[in-house]
């Protein structure tokens, strides 16, 4: 008889593995997010040129654009994680198979790994085409990971809400942007500091606090979203 904890971990992992198997079969989210991110990146860099050598641009503008690209990429792909369960009518099977919090953890793990993969593709490309030099690469990676985690968790939670309503895709942006705005502002601030070589400052603990808050809120509230 497995312990409750290992059972919880096993079902979260099963959800994660199932989502990746579906994803690798259709490649819907990967294609949508990846192409969206690369397209916006090409458009912005074509419009701005290699502007990273301009110090004011590099610090004030470019970090904000990077995070806006990531935000819209997340909004293009992550709502799918629950919408496709409703569309393929597998939501009820999932309700029987896993406890809500394990399901939420599995979905967050899937969304997070997807987003980190996109970040690993987009961020180096962005630094290269914008000719942007990092004063502290470690802080930059930290901002991408901590920001990516909050972006994935918040988006998955809002995706679960939006999948219950009509007009899901438009509604997702309306619901998610106020929730994600503090995260975005903090991640942009951290990225700016990593470009300028400033210390992380209060933005790092606040970003981690945001990540923790959204995780706890998600684990507490998701059962109410999922179970009628």
């Amino acid at each position: 008889m497995p312990s409750p904890t290992s059972h919880w971990v096993a079902s979260a992992r099963a959800v994660f593995a199932k989502d990746w198997r579906c994803e690798l079969r259709s490649r819907y989210a990967l294609n949508a997010i990846g192409l969206f991110a690369v397209t916006t990146l090409v458009v912005t860099s074509a419009a701005l040129g290699p502007s990273g050598s301009n110090q004011a641009m590099a610090i004030n503008v470019l970090p904000a654009i990077l995070w806006l690209i990531l935000l819209f990429a997340a909004a293009a792909g992550l709502p799918r994680v629950f919408v496709h369960e409703e569309e393929s009518r597998t939501a009820n099977a999932l309700r029987l198979a896993a406890t809500p919090s394990a399901l939420f953890a599995g979905k967050v793990a899937f969304g997070l790994s997807l987003l980190l993969a996109i970040e690993a593709l987009v961020a180096p490309l962005y630094l290269a085409v914008m000719n942007l030099n990092l004063a502290s690469p470690g802080l930059f990676v930290g901002a991408l990971v901590a920001g990516g985690y909050g972006l994935a968790t918040g988006s998955v939670l809002i995706a679960a809400l939006a999948s219950q309503a009509r007009g899901r895709s438009t509604l997702f942006s309306v619901l998610a942007f106020p929730v994600l705005m503090p995260l975005l502002l903090l991640a942009i601030e951290l990225t700016r500091n990593s470009v300028a070589g400033d210390p992380a400052g209060p933005a790092l603990p606040q970003l981690l606090l945001y990540d923790g808050t959204v995780t706890i809120a998600g684990l507490m509230l998701f059962p109410a979203v999922w179970n009628p």
């Binding site: 939670l157 809400l161 219950q164 309503a165 009509r166 007009g167 509604l171 309306v174 619901l175 942007f177 106020p178 929730v179 705005m181 503090p182 502002l185 903090l186 601030e189 209060p202 606040q206 606090l209 945001y210 808050t213 959204v214 809120a217 509230l221 109410a224 979203v225 009628p228």
Partner: protein
């Protein structure tokens, strides 16, 4: 009997609010630090802003009551009515604030941190109302929007820390400052507190009417074949 008492309470509210309006213009000083008589808008602007925050908080409490208090429809109606009132008072606070900003700062809008925060909060609760209108089933709507109201309650405090770092604020200090000392003239303070109480009483009255009207509308919908 209860009818007489409730009418008496409403009459008292009329007198109280009227006295506050009188006090705002004739009892309190006009703060000489501000241009002309512009400081008098304080007695309307600040209570509206406070009331809108009380309304949002009340909405979160009723939402939690819905989710963990036996899923009663009346809690959801109360939460929705509180958000509607909060948005109403929030919009009024924004308008009165930008009228004052026009006189004092020379422009209706300049993205002061307070202006940014109140707009983001309005976006949040505007999204809440959009979410409600996108769900037809009453049970699903109550459940999902309660969750969203609680998310709003835990996320909005972050703006309090973040936004002031982005631009410096010109907004006057809160009435009770960090040293917990009263920073205003006592007459201004009395009118401000009295006016805030009046606005909160007004909020609870409007909220009560809105919830009851929605209960009637729901009951009528149930009677339809």
């Amino acid at each position: 009997m209860t009818r007489t008492i409730s009418l008496g309470l409403r009459g008292a509210l009329w007198l109280w609010m009227s006295a506050c309006i009188w006090g705002a213009f004739f009892y309190a000083w006009s703060d000489p630090a501000f241009i002309g008589q512009s400081s008098r808008i304080l007695f309307f602007h600040v209570p509206m802003a406070w009331t809108s925050f009380v309304a949002y908080f009340a909405a979160a409490v009723w939402s939690a009551g819905y989710l963990w208090g036996g899923r009663q429809a009346r809690h959801d109606r109360a939460a929705a009515a509180a958000v509607e009132c909060g948005v109403l008072f929030g919009v009024l606070a924004t308008i009165t604030g930008s009228l004052w900003a026009r006189i004092e700062w020379g422009a209706f809008w300049n993205w002061d941190p307070r202006q940014t925060s109140i707009v983001v909060v309005l976006l949040f609760y505007g999204a809440y109302l959009a979410l409600r209108s996108a769900m037809a089933d009453r049970e699903v709507r109550a459940r999902i929007s309660s969750v969203y109201a609680l998310i709003a309650l835990v996320v909005t405090p972050f703006f309090y820390f973040i936004v002031p770092r982005i631009t410096e604020s010109l907004h006057p200090e809160p009435v009770i400052n960090a040293e917990r000392k009263l920073d205003v003239d006592p007459r201004m303070f009395y009118v401000l507190i009295g006016s805030s109480l009046a606005y909160m009483a007004l909020f609870f009255w409007i909220h009560n009417l809105r919830s009851r009207a929605q209960a009637l509308a729901d009951a009528q919908e149930d009677e339809l074949p």
